[in-house]
């Protein structure tokens, strides 16, 4: 079967586990185990090819845009790791099915565990850098979920979060590093990257690439100073700790060191960075482990220390160092996996993990104790066990290093020191837990665990012994293919357990002896450690940094955003000024475009001054006298209308004028409702700031307008002038543009009106305000809301005004006028009725709902547009013809007129609807409601 199944099968298992969870207690465990075992079988079926030195590959293109292929490879290195992941996975599944409480949701647990397994297999088999990254981050995510498996525990939540953030940060650095690496190599295929070692090491980007990738490695493999997430992650259920946080996931980092060894290793930077960090971690972890009272805490720091050791071995950059590193990865996975499982059993049986309370368990569980003691001895590096062999290789490697020159003796010394502490903490694990008197205050009486729970431990411990005694026959071939997968051609190495009485052996003996000594003086050491060393922890530092980030973010946001609209507007104007001024200043804008202007006459000058004065007065009055401000804005509007007339634009003038009237009346109605509360004075500096900004914006706009108008240009509007009559059927070009050439814009704008009406209705419906009793200056409102004289005058005006509006509507196509203006005129007439006679009076006489008016208007306008479709013309295509009517004579009938009628109806309906809703705000009486959308029965 294809090697793709090695990854797919666990994934299928992950999907199946929760599905079958309900059947029997162990169903999901069985599903998980079956998937893992099958995947293992598939992997083993490829063993002959791999042992023959082949690389089994699989390649499907996926997203070529980012260089991501579905590319897998099974070479020697990947094969060793696949076996490790699957075999230990199988044992962990067996162990976990007994470890987890019966009432736990096992489906979820095994799904996540297998998802992790999939991701881990993906990392080791990926043949594409991005593929590798995808799986890399997936392990971080599944680890997060598994650590937080029981979110009711605070430690679990905290541990999960910290682990996610630290490994996630490393993942981002790794992403950057891999992208750069792919960029330098020119390919994201691992095979290409591995072949491009010289190119990469000689490239300018080598150091950034290395540092970024190492950040990923160090965070994942819990290297100092990123180590602190690992002890926190021990809040996970013990099977997870055994699997992810000692045997496999934390090895992903060092796996990368192995994988990229041919590409990145062998430089001085590599040696100092990788070796230095590894050595520091090795010593720091070994030292700290001794002082942990928590069983899993000790194992966590011991794991950190061993990961440091492995990192250091890879850091040497030598082929033999890399082989030793690989060997220790295997050994550590075996003994540490079994130790975690043993710790889990002890936790399970005693109810605590505090080594100050669990003592003398030998009496209660001798069998487990024996297993744990063998595994712990392997951890300490006792001869005849697997840990001894790789540790000897490590000691040996520290001896012949010439990079350090005169201080070369430091390395073996440090190695021996680390070995000493390893012996001491292993001894503590054995002696404290199984001997050292009687247990203190345990929640329950411990006894041996169920048979099946011990089996995984037995298998692993047996492996410790087997590898330790017969290395060449057991692990030898695997190490051989692993090394050749890693390095291309493996160096010759010797796995014999007896190399004669040499320096490494002496170092081992010293470490053993000194370790016993250290352990025996532990009480004094603990006291000194507590007294002298400050209580610092990476976890606390992390929390401090996270809190600082939160604090800084709060400060920044509070500083930027004070929730004041004025502030927002200032930013907007400022950005406009800077952005428009910058290119003009840099490239120089000649203000005068050369076109001669018209001579300035007295009337225009007065009008211009009036506009300027009114604009300034609006601003001055706006704060205290809103009514005055409103009058001032209407002066501006009026002068603008006059300007339009002056420049022969009657349509614009009419529109502007009618809009002015309607908006002013509506604004007056709103002003009536606005509270008259005290307005806080504006500080002087803000007044100045606003003055400067407003002046700059105003003058800038004026300058641009001047520059624009003094230049000639060739617009498309000649087309409109030319064809308005022959093809649009109207002599009023402005109107033909509005209803025909650009009728689509008008269609959109009347839709805006309709939406505005809907929005206002939705907003104000049901809202009731108290009618103010006093107006500006505290004067009471007149009791006579609807003066009789006004009513009497306005009523006869209505038919006249409506007639005028119809006239304006009908003539629009050929003379100044049109639907929009006509609608506003009619609207004004109706507003007058309402003001004069009151809402109820008008409402009773307006049979048509305003929404009907608007809807029909929109439908008519659209309908004329759709009619064109019947004649196989596009939407809104117009047509016109001439009819001969008796008496009247030849009359033009244009579809655009129907469109204009739609515009008329929408405008009238909208104006009236706004008015009605504003009027209803303060009236206590229920009104005849207009036909409206959104009404619930």
């Amino acid at each position: 079967m294809s090697i793709g199944w090695i990854i797919l099968l666990p994934l299928c298992g992950a999907l199946a586990a929760p599905l079958v969870a309900g059947r029997t207690r162990a169903a999901s465990a069985w599903a998980a185990a079956a998937a893992t075992a099958t995947a293992l079988a598939v992997a083993l079926s490829h063993a002959p090819a791999v042992f023959a030195g082949e690389t089994v590959q699989l390649l499907y293109p996926w997203i070529p845009a980012i260089g991501l292929d579905l590319a897998l490879r099974l070479d020697g290195l990947a094969f060793v790791f696949v076996l490790l992941v699957l075999a230990i996975g199988l044992l962990v599944i067996l162990y976990a099915s007994y470890y987890l409480p019966a009432e736990d949701p096992k489906g979820r647990f095994f799904a996540l565990l297998l998802l992790f397994q999939t991701a881990m297999l993906g990392i080791v088999m990926a043949d594409n850098l991005l593929m590798l990254l995808v799986f890399w981050e997936l392990t971080s995510l599944t680890s997060f979920l598994l650590v937080g498996y029981d979110p009711s525990k605070q430690a679990a939540r905290r541990g999960a979060r910290i682990a996610l953030v630290i490994t996630g940060a490393g993942g981002l650095a790794l992403l950057a590093g891999l992208l750069l690496l792919g960029h330098v190599v020119g390919s994201y295929r691992l095979s290409d990257v591995l072949a491009a070692g010289d190119l990469v090491r000689g490239h300018d980007l080598y150091v950034p690439i290395l540092v970024l990738i190492l950040l990923g490695v160090f965070t994942k493999s819990a290297q100092f100073p990123f180590h602190f997430w690992l002890p926190g992650a021990m809040a996970a259920p013990t099977p997870v700790s055994a699997y992810l946080h000692s045997a496999t996931m934390v090895k992903a980092g060092v796996f990368l060191l192995a994988r990229f060894h041919p590409t990145l290793a062998g430089t001085e930077v590599w040696f100092y960075l990788v070796g230095g960090v590894g050595l520091t971690t090795l010593l720091f972890g070994a030292y700290t482990a001794l002082f942990k009272h928590d069983l899993k805490g000790l194992l966590a720091y011991s794991t950190i220390s061993h990961l440091g050791l492995i990192t250091f071995l890879f850091g040497l950059g030598t082929p033999l160092g890399a082989v030793a590193g690989l060997f220790h990865i295997i050994n550590h996975a075996i003994f540490k996996g079994s130790l975690f499982m043993a710790a889990g059993i002890i936790d399970h049986e005693t109810g605590t993990r505090d080594m100050r309370r669990i003592n003398g368990l030998w009496k209660y569980m001798p069998y487990t104790a024996t297993l744990a003691m063998v595994a712990a001895s392997a951890m300490a590096g006792v001869p005849l066990l697997n840990g001894f062999l790789s540790k000897e290789m490590f000691f040996d490697q520290t001896l012949d290093l010439d990079l350090l020159g005169g201080v070369a003796w430091l390395l073996p010394a440090a190695a021996t020191l680390a070995g000493t502490f390893a012996v001491a903490y292993s001894l503590r694990f054995i002696h404290d837990v199984f001997f050292n008197g009687e247990p203190v205050d345990l929640p329950r009486t411990p006894h041996e665990p169920p048979r099946w729970m011990r089996i995984p431990v037995e298998i692993l411990v047996a492996l410790c012994l087997l590898v330790g005694i017969l290395p060449q026959q057991t692990v030898g071939p695997f190490l051989e293919i692993g090394a050749s997968g890693m390095l291309g051609s493996p160096p010759s190495f010797d796995l014999a357990i007896w190399h004669g009485f040499n320096a490494p052996l002496v170092m081992s003996l010293i470490a053993l002896g000194a370790g016993v000594l250290v352990y025996s003086s532990r009480h004094w050491l603990f006291a000194t450690h507590d007294r002298l060393l400050p209580r610092t922890s990476g976890e606390a530092a992390f929390e401090r940094i996270a809190a600082l980030l939160l604090h800084v973010s709060h400060r920044i946001m509070a500083w930027i955003d004070n929730r004041s609209l004025q502030r927002y507007a200032v930013w907007l104007v400022l950005v406009v000024l800077v952005l428009t001024a910058a290119p003009l200043v840099r490239h120089g804008l000649t203000l005068d475009g050369g076109l001669a202007g018209e001579p300035v006459d007295g009337v225009s000058l007065v009008a211009a001054l009036l506009v300027a004065a009114a604009a300034v007065a609006t601003v001055v009055a706006a704060r205290r006298q809103r009514l005055l401000a409103l009058i001032m804005t209407s002066i501006v509007g009026l002068v603008v209308s006059l300007t339009f007339i002056h420049f022969s634009a009657p349509d614009l003038a009419l529109t502007q004028l009618s809009v002015e009237v309607v908006t002013t009346i509506l604004l007056l109605l709103v002003l009536y409702l606005l509270p008259l509360g005290e307005i806080r004075p504006t500080p002087r500096w803000r007044q100045i700031r606003d003055l400067v900004l407003a002046s700059a914006a105003g003058l800038g706009t004026a300058a641009l307008a001047y520059a624009m108008m003094t230049r000639g240009y060739e617009p498309i509007s000649r087309y409109f002038l030319e064809f308005a009559k022959p093809h649009g059927g109207g002599t009023n070009v402005v109107n033909v543009i509005l209803v025909d050439f650009r009728g689509f814009d008008t269609w959109g704008e009347i839709t805006v009106l309709g939406i505005a009406a809907t929005g206002i209705y939705a907003m104000l419906r049901g809202l009731r305000l108290k009618a103010p009793t006093r107006g500006i200056g505290g004067r009471p409102w007149s009791a006579d809301a609807h003066p009789l004289i006004l009513a009497m005058i306005s009523r006869p005006l209505l038919p006249l005004a409506l007639l005028v509006s119809v006239y304006i509507l009908l003539r629009g196509h050929n003379s100044p006028g049109g639907g929009f203006i006509a609608g506003l005129v009619a609207g004004t007439a109706l507003i007058l009725q309402q003001l004069a006679s009151g809402q109820q009076w008008t409402g009773e006489r307006m049979r048509l709902g305003y929404f009907t008016l608007i809807g029909v208007g929109l439908a008519v306008a659209t309908g004329t547009g759709l009619a064109a479709l019947i004649f196989e013309r596009p939407f809104l295509t117009s047509a016109y013809t001439y009819l001969s009517l008796p008496l009247v004579g030849k009359v033009e009938v244009a579809s655009a007129m129907a469109f204009d009628l739609g515009v008329f109806l929408v405008v009238v309906g909208t104006v009236m609807l706004i008015l009605e809703n504003l009027g209803r705000l303060t009236s206590g009486r229920t009104q005849t409601a207009p036909v409206s959308p959104g009404e619930e029965r």
Partner: protein, 508 residues
């Protein structure tokens, strides 16, 4: 050209006007109308996407007036992609709304359809002034939708929204006026030609007009420091409205692509490199501001709103780089961030509903059904941060890769990656606090499937965008090529003959 192009406008328009006319139709009926119209829009969008994917550019002469004199609708790959994204998002938002939030105020369904009209129109129009008109439709409909449900918080933030955007509308008009005065035309294809060969003397005026458009589109897109309206407005809006608004900022980005990629993209002299440096600076500022905002948020909805801003920063970075690869990444990320952002608003609402503390990020009760919600939140969060294996990573990597040729590469990489890290910190804090802390109130019922399904379906788009990533990135690449080349667009628009042989196509 068939009339397919005008359907994305006519369907929501007809539904909206129908709902106005139908007056007192019961809510159930309104829901049917809205659902049918939205589903029809989705089908039409899929059909148009299929048409555009063939590489043809569809042009529809409204009123049968030839370009550049009349208004045209143009269906290129970009428009089709935007239409489809909008339709998908709208389907999700509406499906969520019909489960009850449409009850909170009046005329929801009519306004919702009008909002879709504005969006579709903005994406289809080939005319700069007509774009303004559709922006107005968008603005007025969105203002009303923001107010849906009422209350002081909504009223206040909606006021900020509408005032700033009205200022933006004025700026838009001034900008269009300046550009028209320099070129004498409003048709985008014609403008692309006119601007490319613009007399150096007139260039500064066109540049000033273009810069005003930068501000307007930046305001729509919530680019720092023009973003202020967004966080409060989105976090106080009802969930389906906020979800639909995930596309609103993208309208600004879309307009930038259209205007600066296509229209100004082929200019010489000062117009050529006018916008890129500003956009790059704004991109990094927006990324930073959005990230700090997200981290500092004390409310999940607000955090999601800031995530929208962060995505805008990322998109701007891609846009500013200007290469075809960068544009392709931008478009991919645009689709991703729209759908995921919309879904996250729904998820935030689902979480908030089940807690007595609402969506406030404080330790309190867990919402009922926390497990499922946690899965949704995790998927959305992973996608938003840009972690594997979801679409955020693909989009981000596309933009990171495209940045490699730029002299700003270090800035862009650092901004995007550090922002991702901070978002990871912020989102994990929020998720852990909201979904892992505290106990479920035993009396509460978990959210119904009808509420969860829309969020889940929108989120499902993210893995789908990865699974079919090869196909989708090929589409966005072709889209980017179509934009940066521009010739196809210009030729299609200006070469489209009117249906009537009598229509004059040029001035004598």
């Amino acid at each position: 050209m068939s009339h397919w192009l005008v359907l994305p406008l006519l369907i929501p328009f007809a539904a909206g006007v129908g709902l106005l006319l139908a007056g007192r139709m019961p809510l159930a009926g309104q829901r049917w109308v809205g659902t049918i119209a939205t589903a029809a829009s989705l089908l039409v969008a899929i059909r148009l996407f299929g048409l555009a994917a063939e590489g043809q550019i569809g042009v529809y002469l409204i009123g049968d007036w030839p370009a550049p004199f009349g208004i045209v609708l143009v269906l290129d790959r970009l428009a089709a992609l935007m239409l489809l994204t909008t339709a998908l998002l709208a389907a999700g938002a509406l499906a969520y709304a019909v489960s009850g939030t449409d009850r909170a105020g009046r005329a929801f369904h009519a306004l919702f359809q009008f909002q879709l009209l504005g969006l579709n129109g903005a994406f289809l129009t080939g005319d700069l002034f007509n774009l303004f008109v559709f922006f107005e439709i968008l603005l007025i409909a969105s203002y009303s939708l923001l107010l849906h449900g009422g209350g002081p918080a909504r009223t206040r933030s909606a006021l900020h929204y509408v005032v700033l955007n009205l200022v933006g509308s004025s700026l838009f008009l001034i900008g269009v006026g300046l550009i028209y005065s320099a070129t004498g035309t409003l048709n985008i294809a014609d403008l692309a030609q006119a601007l490319a060969g613009l007399d150096p003397e007139a260039q500064p005026i066109a540049a000033a007009g273009g810069m005003l458009l930068v501000v307007v589109f930046g305001l729509k897109a919530a680019v720092l420091p023009l973003h202020f309206w967004l966080p409060h407005a989105y976090s106080s809006a009802t969930a389906p409205v906020a979800a639909l608004f995930a596309i609103m900022t993208k309208v600004g980005i879309y307009a930038m692509v259209r205007v600066f990629g296509l229209m100004f993209g082929h200019g010489e002299g000062m117009l050529a490199e006018l916008f890129a440096p500003w956009l790059l600076g704004a991109a990094i500022l927006t990324l930073a501001g959005g990230t700090f905002g997200a981290v500092a948020s004390s409310d999940l909805r607000e955090m999601v709103a800031y995530l929208v801003i962060v995505s805008v920063g990322t998109l701007l970075a891609g846009l500013a780089l200007g290469t075809t690869e960068a544009l392709s990444g931008t478009l991919y990320y645009l689709v991703h961030s729209t759908l995921v952002g919309g879904a996250m608003f729904l998820v935030a609402d689902l979480i908030g509903r089940g807690r007595s503390q609402g969506p406030a990020i404080v330790v309190g009760g867990r919402p009922p059904g926390a497990g499922l919600l946690a899965v949704l939140f995790l998927i959305g969060g992973v996608a938003a941060v840009g972690m594997p294996p979801l679409s955020g990573l693909v989009g981000k990597v596309m933009i990171l890769l495209a940045a490699q040729g730029s002299e700003w590469v270090a800035w862009i990489w650092a901004a995007i990656l550090i922002s991702s890290l901070f978002l990871l910190i912020g989102l994990s804090r929020a998720g852990v606090t909201l979904l892992w802390c505290g106990d479920v109130n035993p009396g509460d019922a978990p959210a119904t499937a009808a509420l969860i399904a829309p969020a889940a379906l929108l989120l499902a788009m993210s893995p789908l965008m990865v699974a079919f990533g090869g196909w989708l990135t090929a589409y966005t690449e072709a889209t980017a090529a179509q934009i940066t080349d521009g010739r196809g667009y210009v030729e299609a628009v200006l070469g489209q003959p009117p249906a009537s042989p009598l229509r004059p196509t040029s001035v004598p």
